[in-house]
Symmetry: C2
Subunit: 204 residues, 2 copies
Amino acid sequence: MACNSDAINIDAGQALFHEGDPNPYVYNVVEGAVKLYRLLPDGRRQITGFLFQGDFLGLGGRGVANFTAEALTPLQTCRFKRNNFDQLLNALPALEHRLVALAGDELMAAQEQIVLLGRKTAKERLASFLVRLSERQRQLGGPEHQVHLPMTRLDIADYLGLTIETVSRVMTQLKTSGLIRLLPGNDIALVNAEALKALGNGEA
Amino acid sequence: MACNSDAINIDAGQALFHEGDPNPYVYNVVEGAVKLYRLLPDGRRQITGFLFQGDFLGLGGRGVANFTAEALTPLQTCRFKRNNFDQLLNALPALEHRLVALAGDELMAAQEQIVLLGRKTAKERLASFLVRLSERQRQLGGPEHQVHLPMTRLDIADYLGLTIETVSRVMTQLKTSGLIRLLPGNDIALVNAEALKALGNGEA
DNA sequence: CGGCCAATTGAGAATTGTCAAGATAAGTGG
DNA sequence: CCACTTATCTTGACAATTCTCAATTGGCCG
């Protein structure tokens, strides 16, 4: 069977698609990072997720995108027409099983984020965020106890339900208390990863 | 093929299973309402969802429950062993398709909740909540422009990332501004459903 | 070197939380 | 059926975390 996929590459800051667009595609991130967000009518923004290498995009929904997907870095993706994708699934039940499992993981991640947004303090949110990101990056072959932030403070704020000022202040607090160090190039060293993890889990 | 399902009925306040329990079952709610929640080590609670007639429970996860499921009312469920359920899916690809779609819906709902928790005010959260609940109940055959709340104020607070006092105060505000009326028996009349909907969507 | 965008820091305001007291409703037993 | 008991809900006064507005600093690129 032909793959029927296109390579779609865009620059940092460009959108793959916008909230409300008809979007009959499924994407797979080959290289780079993506942010997903929704806007309220008055401009308030909530980032619902960051995607990295290997992540799928556009599986849910009914042909209309319910969020905007924007590249944080130069981005390479592999795009499938949804129809082809569905046919692929029909032909390969094993793939569909994997997708069901993937959807389950996404749901677990969403629940995690709901707990974070509903019940964690600003400091706990940032700690959770840094730990999760570092785990994801290590899984992709990155260094241990170090995170690279491809997103701005504003993006982090809109992901954690905070303001940019609060994110900045809490970063400083974490630095001052010796849990992290701010490195040049938007990198962060997790000086005390254990404590950071405990903090993020609400183990006061 | 035999159905291999058991009827599991429990009282209000009883748990179907607890966070961390090995949980090799999938449940379908036949009658009643359920709350799902996670606890932080110090007791902070986040309710991640309310389930009603027809909802599935326990699809995600890897055999270990990542939330507690507790009955809000006397509850009737239909329980499947996960293995049997998986076999059922293998035998009926159409069912698996439906489940993938269902998982997509759940993910959309989770995103909606993330936006609510991350960026909406207390008043907007409560408005969203009431509107969503009324839509769900109407879909199950309930009356239009009226909601029954099977959960306590504390449950609502823990679902919306607020405190019980804030929920109570905002209820009063909504009542005072003529958007709702509080009826006996934990019922609420949506006097101005349109305005409530707009408020919930952040259309200030 | 200059300009620009992002990040940090400060001061004060606001929404929401905390603590406490009553009021209402619901459940129980006589 | 009523009185009592208890849990839930409401309301108030005050505190605290986070937000808003503003200015400054820092880093990156032409």
